[in-house]
Amino acid sequence: MRGLLQLFAAYGNFLLFGFLELLALILVVSFNQRQGAIWDNSWGMATAALDQSADWLGEQWALRDELIKLQGENIRLMEQLDNARYSNAVRQDTFLKDSTEQLFSYIPANVISNSTIGTANYLRLDKGSNHGVRPNMGVVSSDGIVGVVRAVTPHYSQVMSLLHRETRIKAALSNSGYFGTLTWNGKNARLMQLEAIPKHAVVAEGDTVVTSGYSQLFPYGLPVGTVKSFDFSGGGNFYNIQVMLRNDLNKLRYVYVIENEMWKEHKELDEAVNE
């Protein structure tokens, strides 16, 4: 109450001025035909604009739901592909036992932070162990491979980007099937290096580079990029191949984490060998 009185003492004249002006303007639009018509018209336009903004917001929310639905749809389709399934086909005499089991399944995720500037880049996803993400899972987008999960928390996961000086991913030339190791020299965010393709392989500019399938991370045949140039500058028996990435890691938004359903068997085998 005291504060209110002080307010009136300090701004009383201004408040009175505002009140009188408001009163006058209400009289103007209520009792003058022309000004009243202009007012009604403008008010109608303003509320229509407000309506439109509200509609737009609603549409954005509907789009978000649509996006989640489409991600689920994509996963269903990707998991149907041959390279995501384990084939039991074995020929025994004339009897062909042919059935498949799920080998790779996908978890949709959104990129919430990303960098492509340094030589050791990471990105962060909004899915974690609560959603089934574990370390050492591959990450792909609709345009190609992105990286490998390094660490997870219940809600988030840290992904080592392809653009990391320690990246070693087996990749193959899809024409010839020769495979090598994909590395990054830290210079250009669109160019990676494919090493250890032997000299006797036939390489041409524009050849497609795909994942080799020789790892538990990625299914066979996911797109990586195309051969941009190649030489033998090292002087050895292997090509130096520059690969133009198909995926632009600078504008990544939606990705899929790849889960290998048979990772436990691989682990058991690894342990058996190491003993």
Binding site: G12, N13, F14, L16, F17, L20, E21, L23, A24, L25, I26, L27, V28, S30, F31, N32, R34, Q35, I38, W39, S42
Partner: protein
Amino acid sequence: MNNTVIWNIIRFFVLLALQGLFLKRISDGWVTGSLYINVFLYPLFILLLPLQTPRTGVLLLSFLMGIGVDLFYDSPGVHAAALTAMGYARALFLSLYEPREGYKLNDKPTPAGLGMNWFMKYSASLMVLHLLVYFSVDAFSPIYILGILLRTFFTFVSSMAAVLIFVFIFMPKR
């Protein structure tokens, strides 16, 4: 002091009647049937209020005068909005044009009281403000801005002439 109050009350009704009964007919083309001149003399009432008038009183009186003129012009609120704005701005312009030695107790806001130069600045500023607000509220849309400015200019010339004539007839220099 009492004398001043009575004079201001008389001036209120004289200016209101002059504006509503005489000057309005000029703007309706009364004189020759073809001449349309807006002359606004009634803001003079606010201009001539004593310097010591409380700001609240100035605001209420300007609203009252505006409503009174609106009754004659059949435009409820338009003159009131403009004159209230002018009444609020009066204190601002008074402090803006305050003489170096400040206002004295017996100073009157007239050419005789504070000088012709001071009165011209003071009345012209407030008259421009009043007319701008008046024609803006009258047009009620920014798309008429050119018309608003033209009317403000021509009405300013005629109104200031009327204000000066009134002041020199009724308040000659002593």
